[in-house]
């Protein structure tokens, strides 16, 4: 067994792990009560900053720094939105935390609210998690009953309400300003930034949006301390003053073609190969891996030869992936056609593009139509050039869209065609022997719907 003792998942699988009694018995809520009695909010921000915690939702932005962008001495209210719209394909760690240890998430939310002076926290939960909804609501009710939520908590000046808000099956609600618009009752169209949510967020008030796993990390930093957190993971590169390092434990979601899919906690920086072999029981059916997604489908693929790359915030970027993302690892074995993989990716983004920015709305749908045509044996080599052109012109990076969804849609296209170009070309030539060299425009096979 791996030597690392899980912390974020310490209670998973124990009886009644979702109850306040279990959480208290593990030392839960005492750190919140201590911080509330002894520390000022600014001290809590410093605590999280010095721990080097980076957001677990995908972007890896330093959490304490995000909090410090809130205006000082704002008359309020300030809002905390906890992002539980976990929708990146392959990702399910938030679900496990919310279902089986909701109080850890709630305590992290309390501490983060105290640090940011938020008096209302909304947990934006995706529709697809009804069990997590029940468990979180029960945990919130228990916390109110224990006097941990409500007015003047434990005799302090701090008041906090936590409310659940239910999404309606749209990936874009995980984008922080899309989430804010959705809470406000509008279509979840991401906002142009600036202003960033810290200045003008939900209900036009200063707002912090943090991920569920980030909340759990905050709770553990408060309980176990900065030194403990910094003893895990990959330290900052001393030669690079802009590298914030990759500290702390991380929940890796492992799925696809492995023997034992599941959510595993490991120090940031474990390699993909270690994760698959030591935790996942290896590739399924004794087969070889072809590639793996390192952190949700937007990140692109790592080939089998790249599996020794560390899965910290920096590693996947060194092998042409967008980043660590959500640390959702999806393994594909040697029997999978790379054309089918990219088709699945393009279908997802075509379905989930919110339709606000034309390059993304049209681009994702055209990409899907091209992939459908290639799969149907009507592909041309020219299509790869068109896909790459789409891939390099849609997104925030080329400056043609408001949010990063299009970048996430484009990255797998660029990455996969770059890494598996021979396979694409072979497939196209083999399935379309008469027409693979044609360069004239061709009609799409069918119209696909979008939001």
């Amino acid at each position: 067994m791996p030597p690392f003792e899980p912390v974020l998942l310490e209670a998973i699988g124990t009886p009644e792990s979702h109850t306040i009694a279990s959480y208290r018995a593990r030392g839960g809520y005492a750190p919140f009560e201590k911080l509330l009695a002894e520390k000022q909010p600014v001290d809590v921000i410093e605590l999280v900053k010095s721990a080097g915690l980076r957001g677990r939702g995908g972007a890896g932005f330093p959490t304490g720094l995000k909090w410090s962008f809130l205006p000082k001495d704002h008359p309020g209210p300030v809002y905390l939105c906890v992002n539980a719209d976990e929708s990146e394909p392959g990702t399910f760690n938030n679900r496990i935390l919310m279902e089986d240890d909701p109080h850890q998430v709630i305590e992290g939310t309390m501490i983060s609210s105290y640090a940011t002076r938020a008096t209302t926290a909304y947990i934006y939960l995706r529709y697809e998690y009804p069990h997590a909804w029940d468990r979180l609501q029960a945990a919130i009710d228990e916390a109110y009953a224990a006097g941990l939520l409500g007015k003047n908590i434990k005799g302090s000046n701090f008041s906090l309400d936590i409310y659940l808000h239910r999404g309606a099956a749209a990936y874009i609600c995980g984008e922080e300003t899309g989430l804010i618009e959705s809470i406000e009752g509008k279509r979840a169209w991401p906002r142009i930034k600036p202003p960033f949510p810290a200045i003008e967020g939900v209900f036009r008030k200063p707002t912090v949006v943090n991920n569920i796993e980030t909340m759990a990390c905050v709770a553990q930093i408060a309980r176990r301390g900065v030194d403990w957190f910094r003893s895990i993971g990959v330290p900052a590169d001393p030669a690079n003053p802009r590298d914030p390092g990759s500290y702390g434990p991380k929940l890796y979601c492992l799925s696809g073609h492995v023997e034992k899919p599941g959510c595993y906690e490991a120090p940031l920086g474990i390699t993909l190969r270690e994760l698959i072999n030591e935790y996942g029981g290896g590739v399924w059916k004794g087969r070889k891996a072809k590639a793996a997604i390192p952190g949700g489908i937007s990140m692109g693929l790592m080939t089998e030869a790249e599996f020794d790359t560390p899965l910290d915030f920096k590693g996947p970027g060194t092998v042409g992936c967008m980043g660590l993302g959500t640390a959702a690892v999806v393994v594909i074995d040697e029997t999978v056609s790379i054309v089918d993989f990219l088709h699945n990716s393009c279908r997802f983004f075509a379905h989930e593009s919110c339709g606000q920015c034309t390059p993304c709305r049209e681009g994702t749908n055209w990409n899907l139509r091209i992939l459908e045509r290639i799969r149907a044996g009507k592909g041309r080599l020219k299509d790869l050039e068109i896909l790459l052109e789409n891939g390099t012109t849609m997104g925030m990076m080329p400056g043609s869209t408001i949010c990063g969804l299009a970048d996430g849609a484009a990255w797998p296209i660029k990455n996969v065609i770059h890494k598996f170009r021979d396979e694409f070309e072979d497939y196209i030539k083999r399935t379309n022997p008469e027409g693979w060299m044609v360069t004239d425009p061709v009609p799409a096979l069918q119209i696909v719907g979008a939001h």
């Binding site: 990702t91 679900r95 239910r166 309606a168 990936y171 009752g185 799925s255 899919p261 999806v330």
Partner: protein, 184 residues
Amino acid sequence: MTSHALKRLTPEMVAEIEALAPRYPDRRALVLPSLHLVNKALRHVPLDAVVDVANVLGLPPAEVQDTLTFYQFFHQQKPHGTVRAFVCRSISCALRGGDELLEKLCSQYGIEPYGTTDDGSLTIEPAECLGACDFAPCVLANDDLLKNLDPAAAAAALEAVKIRADQQNAQRPQPTTHSPMEDA
């Protein structure tokens, strides 16, 4: 509240919406919770209900409709089945037979994806990642997550959810006479 006569919302539903109002500084934030409430009761959100929600919240109906149409989740033309089954087709499930599962279920029940059986007992919809990749391929049927589904056994799992849904409906209080729950 409003002077308009409500066509689809019962006083109980209005009371449920109003109970949520103190949570938000702006009544527009109640749009999504209200739509969920209506959808739970009626299994769709007809235009009359959109107008009702708008009246209760003090919003132009177009704003509520605008939000509704963004989330393809809410059906408007007709109710979804007593059981609504979302079959995951995203990557982790697709690698373990999600697409084949969707095809098999649709052909077993004789419906197209997004379709509802003639008896109104089941709607099957493709879904993007359900966040249960550790149990791929999976289906979310009402509030039940059906895990590691073998296509041969999937229909039996759905039938069990249908039986539970029927039992729950039988226990649910019948609509009172002043609440026109039936289609006009």
